[in-house]
Symmetry: C2
Subunit: 431 residues, 2 copies
């Protein structure tokens, strides 16, 4: 529309600002924003469209960034008194890439204290009595409320996929290292990634592609694979329906809904298999069910250094609950951590062993409806893709009791693009 002159980045931004002015007071997705600078940037972009000097397909796209990513124009406070007013000279890698491509950073979005402590005041745009999920709370709510088309997040457990499910967003948690996470100020665990929430599947991919092409993946990684555009979508041949460790605690309605969606896939010619049909999938399920036993060891050891230091320097700025959790690293030895890494290697091998049997894996994005009140919900369905370094998409294709309900489509490392194409096809059959 911008290219055709039927719309301009400034007009588009103004419509976003109108939604923001209608919804932000109740949703509370932003930590900070600068509408005036955004308007100036939108004017400059509009001028580039007029004069044919467009920077990229994302020129003029307004977006928000989770306030765990450094940015030059805004403070980076990580939802914590400890970082109150913290400024940095640099934009995070993905912010740098998007701004260089003409996209407009409108503001920073909320998250719980240091990503995992006290939740933000942000509300679910579909039901203000409920949480938008977390830890990418503000980014999820922002996109879910239609305030901006795109917002970025990060995931160490379920921080991209779960809130996307709760707020009805498309979201990509990429292959580990496929998108440059530079500027992520508080990373735990080691397999954390940056990712994207979007109102549209194509936009989500375009943003990912832009980041990878401009700044690459994390240094040492080959970056995101896949073409510029997802195209019309494609039908997978065979999908594994995974329970993972979260299944036994999941809501019955949620289970029924995903099984029904599985039937729809079958009806449309996709072969669906589960732990009952394949010994390799059964072995994977068993390995996944063990992950919660050693995940806390990995998490506590990997956050030990920054956490204990933060405790030493600024205990009065950190809530007691988080301080207690920060102390857990002290009980863990390097030897304990190595043992956990060996278990994780075993899980990865079991996942790898299923690579040739299926095109992708379908599971829930969250175990139940977004929680009432402040809690951001259970991360358990985010763990598999996080721990495996595997790509996962949230597909906002279902509803439960009037609220969005996501499906999670996972795949082997570097299948981000192929999964996006499957997601697109699944969208067509769910309409």
């Amino acid at each position: 529309m911008f290219e055709a002159g039927a719309d301009t980045p400034r007009k588009y931004l103004e419509r976003c600002l109108e939604v923001i002015s209608n919804r932000e007071a109740e949703v509370k997705a932003f930590v900070c924003h600068d509408f005036e600078s955004a308007q100036k940037a939108a004017d400059a972009s509009s001028e580039r469209y007029r004069s044919g000097r467009v920077l990229s397909a994302l020129d003029g796209m307004p977006f928000g960034a989770k306030d765990i990513f450094k940015s030059a124009e805004f403070p980076t406070e990580v939802g914590s008194e400890f970082f109150r007013g913290h400024r940095d000279w640099q934009d995070s890698a993905h912010i740098y890439a998007l701004k260089r491509s003409g996209a407009i950073l409108v503001g920073k979005t909320t998250l719980p204290e240091l990503g995992s402590g006290y939740p933000p005041l942000t509300r679910n745009p579909y039901d203000l009595s409920r949480s938008p999920g977390g830890s990418s709370s503000g980014s999820a709510a922002l996109v879910g409320a239609g305030m901006l088309p795109v917002a970025t997040g990060s995931q160490g457990r379920g921080s991209i996929i779960r809130p996307a499910s709760f707020c009805g967003n498309w979201a990509l948690k990429p292959t580990f290292g496929a998108l440059h996470s530079g500027g992520l100020i508080w990373r735990s665990p080691s397999y954390s990634v940056m990712g994207i929430h979007s109102a549209s599947l194509d936009d989500c991919w375009a943003v990912a592609r832009c980041i990878a092409d401009t700044v690459g993946g994390d240094p040492g990684h080959p970056g995101l694979y896949g073409a510029d555009q997802l195209g019309p979508g494609s039908k997978p041949s065979r999908i594994a329906l995974l329970e993972t460790a979260g299944w036994k605690g999941a809501d019955e309605t949620y289970k029924v809904k995903i099984l029904k969606f599985g039937e729809k896939l079958s009806a449309n010619g996709v072969e669906l298999i589960s732990r009952n049909d394949s010994r390799d999938i059964e072995k994977l399920e068993k390995a996944l069910s063990l992950f919660p036993n050693y995940r806390p060891v990995i998490a506590a050891w990997e956050v030990k250094y920054p956490a204990l230091m933060a405790r030493d320097v600024g205990s009065s700025f950190i809530t007691n609950e988080l301080l207690a959790r920060f102390g857990e690293g002290e009980k863990i030895t390097l030897e304990d951590y190595r043992t956990a890494l060996i278990s994780l290697e075993d899980l990865k091998a079991k996942f790898q062993a299923t690579a040739k049997s299926v095109d992708g894996y379908l599971t829930l994005s969250a175990p139940s409806l977004p929680p009432l009140g402040m809690g951001t919900g259970d991360s358990i369905f985010g763990d598999p893709a996080s721990a495996l370094g595997a790509p996962a998409w949230n597909l906002p294709l279902l509803e439960d009791r009037g609220l969005p309900m996501g499906l999670q489509l996972l795949g082997q490392q570097h299948s981000d693009f192929k999964l996006g194409q499957y997601a697109k096809w699944m969208q067509t059959i769910s309409d």
Copy 2:
């Protein structure tokens, strides 16, 4: 001596300060220091020895840290006007670990502009007309001059090993990820590590062990393997003498010296092999000789994001030579980078293929004498261990024209400890 009461941390520190007062004005190893705080910390440590509440074997050990690592008490300026006065709330992981164990951070040490640009004013303590090497210039000179027993550094190419050779220090460039490099403010390339310079081989290992035990390796890595102490040393059975890409440009005298050392190893019962004796070693040498062709692609792509951003934000604070180099990432695509990574994988496979044939690999630490004037010398002999993520020790066992000359002992990943034991044995035969 501290434990026996024959010496105290305060008395030891005072002797260090005396050397500093004699040598620092001409060597210029420090960016900043705080002797008064160090004296207070040494008093507290002395009191711990008196009262039997010693924190660790390193309690009371004064050390310096390369000014590329964040620290809470000192600015972190990375040798650059761009970071002038930059402060941070956190100590780097290794500084946190060492301080927690009772060691005393005396000051920060010099390096070239952002690790690779304009060299610092630091001089070689053995010949003030010459460079101490780089980029861990100040740490090398500090230890070489006997001002402090230990200083930390980082290596992306040859930044630990080369200056150790020039300044006569023991040094460990550990297996990639084996020591937590958190707080390294400017990392390029991705396989960069933190490492240690020391006047004593045992101290070097004790410091490495302390860091790994307290904060571990880089998150996701199993950390440094090996016992608490190197012990009496051990004799390797078979060592490969490697030329690497640096050999053809190396000084003839240096070549003669290392070959003579090889003869000494043989005379002491170590089997020495080279590219002439083994097809696998020959393949490795060929792969190593190709590394300089694609190394610049890796370096330029991996520094693209921070470099271009630094250029955008602060070009007036960066020298023109470095700005020009910073622009190189713009010419490189993600596809070029992937091609380089594939070549690097091939090199790693060739290295791996030799693992069972030899116990370690011996090569030069630098191609020639420390340069006269300001240049910090050629990094080329540092490239193999850096690119392979392999451990490497500098053994300060030779001299050339009255100046220290190091040997580099490399090994497969996680052989840091075994190599340290071999180094100790080599010290006994070289005495």
